[in-house]
Every structure is written in structure tokens, then in C-alpha cells.
Amino acid sequence: MKKTTPLQYIMIYSALLLAVAWSIYPILRVITISIRPGNNLLTQSLAIIPADWSFENYIKLFSDHPFGTWIWNSILVTVTVVITGVTLASTAGYALSRFRFPGREASLLSLLVTQMFPATMLLLPLFIMLSSLHLINTYLGLIVIYSSTALPFCVWQMKGYYDTIPYSLEEAARIDGASRFMAFYKIILPLASPALVITALFSFMSAWTEYIVAAQVLWYKEMFTLPIGLKSFQANMTTEWGLYAAGAMIVSIPAIALFLFLTKYLIGGLTLGSVKG
């Protein structure tokens, strides 16, 4: 590669800094609102840290609301969804990458098709279905729905990653006497760990941030997950914006942290496969 001249460096950095400002400013706004005392939504000041900042809202979350319980519930649901998602996506993606069975192409296409259902088509029947299966007020119903929403994308991207792993590796293992499953489990799966990490991340995001289905399924405040708990600060006319913003930050922090640690896996690990090939 040609050497980058100092002038080019200056231009690249200023472009990137502009992009960074644009990308983080709205998030900084949320922080600002969360540390502003009371409910003062309006100010013409652009300062990120208001003069009279305090952690009042964060303290209130835990003292006046069962916020700790909600966090625990969310962790419970999310971890289960992540485990289910990773298990199912890693196996299905593998089969779709390595086997040429008649339903393969149709399966890959229908994975994409499931992403096309408008929300208005699914909401009511999903509720009726969960209700007739007696899954209202259980986490099982939520877990099944969350796992299956994230799955199509995860399978697709696992398949894409397996496609980049040469077939010869398994063949070598088979010659050494490993069974088909052992070859997958011991050789291919560890190699696919960047993609597994991304599948986990996607499953995490779909479970950690969802509230529409959760609001239909859970009736007990003690059973709430974080996002519906957060929703309860939002009222038709009297939203408690300070609390809402503080709660929003608490919902966001684990997600941000995960992205922070996993960026290096995301790049290169996120490879969407093609339908054929």
C-alpha cells in the first residue's frame, strides 16, 4: 500500500471525527437527560453534563422500582435465548453449508422470507397462539419467540462463515476416525468461533431489547423484563423522562459493552452466506 501523506492523515481524521461526533451525539443526549435532575426536558444548552447534574434518577430506579428484579429476569431470558440460538444456528448453518439435500435451497430462501412478515401480520396471531398453548405469564413463550426471531439471520450468517472453512479439514479428521458429529464439534465449531460470537450477540440483542411481545405475555410486574419495565415509565401524558433515560442507559450499557468487546469478531465474522454455493 502507498504511504499515507500527513495531509491525507489530517483529512481522514477530520472525516472520521465528524462521523464519530454524528454517531455518538444522540447517545450523549440520553446520558444528559438521565443525569438532569427532575423532569426538565427542555433546555437550549448543548452541554453534555448539565451544571446541576446528579445521579438521582439512577438511585430512584433501584429504590422505588423493582429494577434489580427486572435486570435479573432479563438476564435469565436472554441467556437462555442465547444458548438456544447458538445451538440451533450452529448446527443448522453447518448442515446447510455442507449438505446438498433437496430442501436446502428452499430452506435458505424461506429463512429470508420469514424476515419479510410485517409486524402487523404476526402480533395478534402470536398472542392467540401463546395463549392457547398456556404460555402467557411464562418465560418459555418469550424464549421460544425470541429465539426464533433471531434464528433466520443467525443461521444464514453461520452458513456463510462455514462456507469459508475448507472441507478438507473435516476430511482429515474423518480419516483419523472421527465421526461426522465429532468432526463438526471438535474441528469446525472451534474454527467458527468468531461467527458463533456474532450469533450470540444477535440473539442477545433480540432478547435483551424486545418489549412488544413481552408486554403482551407478561402480566406480573415482578416478572417484567427490563424493556417493559422501562416502558412503564412512559405514560400517555406523563412520561417520567429522567427515569426513562436513566433506565435506557442501564438497558444500553450491557449491549454497548458487548459490542465494545466483540468488535474484532464482528469484522470478518459477520459474513452473510449466499443461497447457493
Partner: protein, 767 residues
């Protein structure tokens, strides 16, 4: 490779850990599903935080008195509690035992048949003490027992700010309101920006416009529930409100509920029109010296503005029986009893529905309750028939168009009448189908459905079961079994969840299911599809959806690839920059979309302030003008979508061998030539699947549009297809129409994506 081996080495330990945690979770999940021995009664309500606190205390008291009962409260927002109750009780015969809400729920709930008449569950003596306005009757039955007369708007004012300009009383006429308003609208530091407004309120909502309409002699419907919106009163009232803003300048150009509330609460607005639910908050505010007055009389007509008054109270689930019903009714009696009402009134200055409580000295002598009562006496009862919802949906766009300047008051009045008549008709559509006639269409639809199912099962058999039994041609049976078994769990999971909703939606789309036919709907064939395809709105929003999708995806890809190109080189601090650029993806979009909405505010939004400080630009009315509002939603979604494309592009760039560029350099290719001949062609196979997904996700992205435009504002114009169907169809309970509409969206998207993939050869090797 090295990382993979390390992971592999520690994995046995990790595996046992994961297994253990999984077992623990399953155990916990079962535990939480077990119910206690007590009878648990469910009550859903939309009470804001202050009344919620009183309700919680009352319930605790009741549980103490009745140790065998436990009452579970669930709060949801007004609209959400109604929708949730309708799906739970209307579609599955479940739902809570009690529903609390304003009386305007009544009509729709009765039409759906999901609340129980109460006249036989209460004795005459028990009802004797109630103000007749506190008991909601509809079509000859008693459906709701109120504990409060509320939701009426009145004038709240800040005595301190009044005193500062030498005023010692609230205005007595609307004309004086304007005069006072001018005195109280101040630019304190002389920088040309108004620091204190005379009057603020949520004036873009029709509910908050009603009092003025009534003060010119207008009302929403006649005795037969027909809309009456096109008249002199509507024109004059429209003019009155727009004049306050444009001629007299006493109200801000842009003001929704939160802005009005916040301005008044922080002492930067002198008067506020707001409802009974909100006053308690201002009494406690350190910046407000609280004063309450009735909305002043209109001197031009001699009429008082008449806010709508709703009874708030309890509805009973119709599927209750026997002992449980007795328990629920007992709870209902307690919650509407004198002590409960006294508690609400003394703490929150609400108006009790029981006359005895109203006459107790603590209540009768409370100055706020007295003013509130006086305001109620000027008010009119909120209509409880379902037509009211259609009228709101018609008034909102017309009124907002007038406010935005795209319609004259006269045109707005005519438009809202026309729209209201159309929407009322839509509300009751599908009733003319004879349920007893032999339904040939139904037979055809079900037969076609059956054939579809058989075909699908056959395909599944060929695809999955046959290889399982006989093996894939050319592969050992054992091997093919392994392959199929690896896919099966995920496939079962996905299709198990999707199949039922898909067929349900398909069947409903051929039916006349609507407000009055939720439980006895009929298959009527393709009529709903006909309605969708002949509606000009469908094509209008289809076009908008295309623009929305194309602009978004193009900008996502262009900016994403640009950033990736900048980052794809050795650069100090690269890791940090990369992480910061990904952040919009990491924060849940419903949080950031709301933040963006705040940032687009005309006076207080960061966007306008930054534009003014940097470029000296005049403030842009992002959320009032329909075109600007649409641009605002696009800006928000572009912000959200860039990181995904950037990451994909970075991955793609890293897989391009460096030698190619070196070889090209030696051959003397310019940077641009290298980009065109090497980067783009090699990036394309990586980007195309991501773009396909991006298109599919963007096309149906209801969340961002809905949150940034606050449900389609202004005037229900900021919509894409999926948000429009949610607004126009579900809001008026047109389930059949909504299903057909949704299915059309799905079909268009499916056909488009398949074509797109074929054209771009996604179906060929990516690597």
C-alpha cells in the same frame, strides 16, 4: 486458527458450566409458573404515577382485610391497556378480571361483547349515592362504575409570573386571555428569542382543541352519533388557535404535550391548558405558584369553552362466573366505595362520583376541587360510542393540516367531515353479510387452503423426510440423516412460530372481521383485497415506502462503505474510532429514535441549535411540516443503519488480498482505478446479501417511523405502508382489512426480493 484451538481446549469446562446454568434456568422458569393458593385477581389500569400510588395503597388495605385474596395490578398506557384487553378478552376469552379506564372505552368494548352488564350485580341502594354521570350506561345496560369524574381540561396559571407583570387574577374571557398572554410573552435578555410564553398546551391534539370548538357552539356529533364537523364553529375555532400562534404570538410554534408540560413546570410559560390528571405535579413544582381557573368565556358568543369530561372507573370481564365473580365484584365495590374515593380526592383533588364524599367538608371546601367542579359544569360528557374514535382519527389530520398551513380553515373543516363520515362507515363495515347463507366463497377458500397445506407437507416430505429414510442421492444414508437432523431443530423452531400466524392472517384476510364481527366473522372472499387495491392511500404510501427504502439503504451503503474504506488502513486510534462508530447499532432503537425526536424540536432540539450556531440558519420546523417530518425519520434511520453496513464492508475489505493492489500500483493504476476495478467488484458479493437483508428490514421498519413522527404526525402523513396499516386499520378495528393489507405488503416485498436476488446473482457463490 490459534484462537480456535485455545477455545477448544477450555471448552469442556465451559460446556459443563453452560449445562448447569441451563438446568438452573429451567428450574427457575418452572418455579415462576406455579401459582399460589390464594385467589389472585387481576386488575389492569392506565393510572399515572400519582394515582397509581393511591391504588396500590388501597389494594394493600383490601388484601389485609381479605387474606384469601391477592390483587395483581398491571399498568399500561391508555391506548395499550385497551388494545391488550381487547386481544386478551376478545380473542382468547382470557384477560384480567377488572379493567380500569375512561368511559370512552365503553362503546367499542360493548360492540365486541367483552364487558359484562353490571345492573344485576349492584343493588339500587348501592348505586343511589352515585352522581348519575359517574355510572356509564350504554344501550340500556350499566357497564362501568366510576370512581372519578375527570380528564377535563382547565386553565392552570403561575401566580408568580402573573405578579411579575402586575396581574393579580386569571383572565375572564378568551379575548382577555390573549391580552394577558401578550403581556406574559417575554424576551427577557433581548436576544430575539422568546424566553417565556404566555400560554402553552398540547394544541396539536384534537382533544385539546375541543373546548374552543365548543366555545363557538360546535360539537363532535349529533344525537344519532353522526359527525358534525363542517360548520362555522370549526372554521372560527381553527382561526382562533392559529391566530394565537401566528397573529398574537403568545404560543410557541411547536408544542406537544411534553414541551408544554415542561415549559410550565419550569416557570418558562405563564399559562397552561391541561387536564385534571396533571395538576398535582404543578402544585409541587418549586418554580410554579399554582393557580387554577376555569377556561374563560368566549365574549364573542357568550359560551364557555366546554372540555370533554370522562368518567373513570371499572369494567368487568364477561367470562367470570360464580365465586370468582363475587370476589371481583366485592373488590369493585371496595375500590369505588366512599373511603377509596375520599382517599383519591383528598390526595389528588379528583372529583368523587359519590355525592356523600363530595359533600364532606374537606372535599367541598378544597379550592382546587371547587374550581374543578365548576369547570366540569361547563364541560360536556365525552361520547362513549365507538364512532368517537373514527372522529378523532378524522379530526387529527385535518386539524394538523390547518396548523401546518397546508389547508385553509374552511378546507380543513370540510375535510374532517368527509374523513369522519368515511371512517365511521369503515368502522361498521362487513355487517351486511348474511351469516346463514350458504357460503360458497368460504368453501373455496378453505379448499384452497387445504390444497396449500397438502402441497407444503408433500414438499416437506420430499425435502426432509425422504432423505431421512432413504438418504440423499450420492450420499450415505447415515450421512444424510445426520444432515437433516442438524437442520431439523432450527427449522421446527422457526416454522413452528411462523406457520400459525401466517395461515391465521391469510384466512382473516378473506373475512369481514371487524369491530362488530370479532366473534362471528365470515369468509367473504377477495373483498378486502379489492378495498386495499382501490384505496388511493395505498399507492401514496407505497410510493413513500419505496422512497424511504431506497434512500435509506443507499445512504447506509454509501456511508458505510466510505467509513470502512477510511478505516481499512493502519491508523492510530482505529479501534476506539471503530467502536464509537458502531454505537448507534448497540443502543436499542426505541430509545435513540425518541431521542432523535427530541433533537428535532424547533426551539429546543439540538439539530436546530447546531444549525443556527454553525451556519446561522433559521429554525426548521422538522416535525410540523410533512416533508420535513419524513426527512427527519429518514435521517434517524440512516443514523441507525450505517454501522451494520460499515461492519459488513470492513469484513469484505479485509478479505481482499493486498497483493492485488500492489500489482495494480506497479502497473500504474490510479487510486480511483484501483477502487473501481478491484475494491468494488470484490466487495459486491459480500455487500449484496447484506443489502438484500437491509431492504427487507427497512421496508417493514415500523418502529423508527412511528416513534419519530409520534404515530404518523403531522396529519397522518408521515407513514410507510406498515405504520399506515397499523394506524388506519387496527385503530378502527378493521382486522380483515388489516390482514389483507399486511399480506399485500408481504407479497410485494417477497416478489421484489426474489427478483433483486436473481438480478444480482445472490444465488451464486459469494466466495
Amino acid at each position: 486458527m490459534i484462537r480456535g484451538i485455545i477455545l477448544y481446549k477450555i471448552s469442556p469446562f465451559l460446556r459443563s458450566r453452560i449445562l448447569l446454568t441451563l438446568l438452573l434456568f429451567l428450574f427457575l422458569m418452572l418455579g415462576s409458573a406455579l401459582s399460589a393458593e390464594k385467589t389472585t385477581l387481576h386488575l389492569w389500569h392506565p393510572m399515572p404515577a400519582p394515582s397509581r400510588a393511591v391504588l396500590t395503597e388501597l389494594v394493600a388495605e383490601y388484601e389485609k382485610l381479605n387474606p384469601d385474596i391477592s390483587v395483581h395490578l398491571l399498568y399500561k398506557e391508555n391506548e395499550e391497556v385497551r388494545m391488550a384487553y381487547m386481544s386478551a378478552t376478545g380473542f382468547t376469552e382470557g384477560g384480567p378480571d377488572l379493567l380500569y379506564g375512561p368511559s370512552d372505552f365503553t362503546g367499542a368494548l360493548v360492540e365486541m361483547g367483552i364487558i359484562k352488564p353490571l345492573e344485576n350485580l349492584f343493588t339500587e341502594a348501592e348505586l343511589a349515592d352515585f352522581d348519575p354521570k359517574g355510572l356509564t350506561w350504554y344501550q340500556g345496560h350499566l357497564y362501568q362504575i366510576g370512581d372519578e369524574l375527570g380528564n377535563h381540561l382547565a386553565l392552570v396559571y403561575n401566580k408568580r409570573l402573573f405578579a411579575e407583570v402586575g396581574l393579580d387574577r386569571p383572565p375572564e374571557t378568551l379575548q382577555e386571555l390573549i391580552e394577558f398572554g401578550k403581556k406574559l410573552t417575554l424576551d427577557k435578555n433581548g436576544d430575539g428569542i422568546i424566553d417565556q410564553y404566555g400560554l402553552v398546551w398540547n394544541f396539536t391534539e384534537p382533544f385539546f382543541f375541543m373546548p374552543f370548538y365548543a366555545s363557538y357552539g360546535g360539537w363532535v356529533m349529533d344525537a344519532d352519533q353522526n359527525p358534525t364537523l363542517n360548520n362555522e364553529a370549526a372554521v372560527k375555532a381553527f382561526k382562533f388557535v392559529t391566530d394565537m400562534r401566528d397573529v398574537h404570538g403568545i404560543i410557541p410554534i411547536e408544542c406537544d404535550y411534553d414541551i408544554a408540560d415542561s415549559k410550565f413546570n419550569t416557570g418558562t410559560a405563564a399559562m397552561l391548558i391541561n387536564g385534571a390528571w396533571s395538576w398535582a405535579k404543578y402544585m409541587e413544582s418549586p418554580d410554579v405558584d399554582f393557580g387554577l381557573a376555569v377556561l374563560p368565556i368566549n365574549a364573542e358568543t357568550g359560551l364557555y369553552p366546554a372540555p370533554m369530561v370522562a368518567t373513570k372507573g371499572y369494567y368487568l370481564n364477561p367470562y367470570l362466573e360464580g365465586d370468582r365473580q363475587d370476589k371481583v365484584v366485592a373488590l369493585m365495590k371496595f375500590l369505588t366505595g366512599p373511603e377509596a374515593q375520599f382517599k383519591y380526592a383528598s390526595r389528588l383533588a379528583t372529583i368523587p362520583t359519590r355525592l356523600e364524599v363530595r359533600n364532606r367538608p374537606e372535599i367541598a371546601n378544597d379550592p382546587i376541587i371547587r374550581t374543578s367542579m365548576e369547570q366540569v359544569s361547563h364541560g360536556k360528557a365525552m361520547p362513549i360510542s365507538p364512532q368517537m374514535r373514527a372522529i378523532w382519527d378524522a379530526m387529527r389530520p385535518a386539524y394538523q393540516n390547518v396548523l401546518g398551513g397546508s389547508m385553509t380553515p374552511e378546507a380543513g373543516a370540510a375535510y374532517q367531515q368527509e374523513l369522519a363520515e368515511q371512517k365511521v362507515a369503515e368502522l361498521f363495515e362487513g355487517q351486511d353479510v348474511d351469516p346463514d347463507a350458504v357460503n360458497i366463497t368460504a368453501i373455496i377458500v378453505y379448499l384452497a387452503g387445504l390444497l396449500l397445506v397438502i402441497w407444503a407437507l408433500y414438499k416437506l416430505f420430499i425435502a426432509f423426510l425422504l432423505p431421512l429414510i432413504r438418504g440423499i442421492p450420492g450420499v450415505q444414508v447415515k450421512e444424510s440423516r445426520f444432515g437433516v437432523l442438524m437442520v431439523a431443530p432450527a427449522a421446527l423452531f422457526i416454522f413452528g412460530v411462523v406457520v400459525y400466524p401466517f395461515f391465521y392472517n391469510l384466512i382473516i384476510s378473506f373475512s369481514n372481521m371487524g369491530l362488530t364481527t370479532v366473534n362471528d366473522w365470515q369468509i367473504i372472499g377477495l373483498a378486502q383485497y379489492g378495498k386495499v387495491l382501490t384505496d388511493s392511500q395505498f399507492y401514496h404510501f407505497f410510493l413513500k415506502t419505496i422512497i424511504w427504502t431506497v434512500v435509506n439503504v443507499v445512504l447506509h451503503v454509501v456511508f458505510g462503505v466510505m467509513l470502512a474504506l477510511l478505516l481499512n488502513r493502519p491508523l492510530p486510534g482505529k479501534g476506539l474510532i471503530r467502536v464509537l462508530l458502531i454505537l448507534p447499532w448497540a443502543v436499542p432503537s426505541y430509545i435513540t429514535a425518541l431521542t432523535w425526536r427530541g433533537m428535532f424540536n424547533i426551539d429546543y432540539g439540538a439539530v436546530n441549535i447546531i444549525l443556527r450556531n454553525l451556519f446561522g440558519m433559521e429554525p426548521i420546523s422538522w416535525l410540523i411540516d410533512p416533508t420535513n417530518a419524513f426527512i427527519a425519520t429518514i435521517i434517524t434511520n440512516v443514523w441507525l443503519g450505517i454501522p451494520f453496513m460499515m461492519i459488513i464492508a470492513l469484513g469484505g475489505l479485509q478479505s481482499i488480498p493486498q497483493e492485488l493492489y500492489e500489482a495494480a500500483s506497479i502497473d500504474g493504476a490510479t487510486a480511483w482505478q484501483q477502487f473501481k476495478k478491484i475494491t468494488l467488484p470484490l466487495l459486491k458479493p459480500v455487500m449484496v446479501p447484506a443489502i438484500t437483508l437491509g431492504i427487507v428490514w427497512t421496508f417493514n421498519n415500523i418502529n423508527v417511523v412511528w416513534l419519530v413522527s409520534n404515530g404518523g404526525q403531522p396529519g397522518d402523513q408521515t407513514h410507510i405502508l406498515v405504520s399506515f396499516v397499523y394506524r388506519a386499520a387496527f385503530n378502527l378495528y378493521r382486522y380483515g382489512y388489516a390482514a389483507a393489507f399486511s399480506f399485500m405488503i408481504f407479497l410485494m416485498l417477497a416478489i421484489f426480493s426474489v427478483k433483486f436476488m436473481q438480478k444480482n446473482k445472490v444465488t451464486e457463490t459469494a466466495y
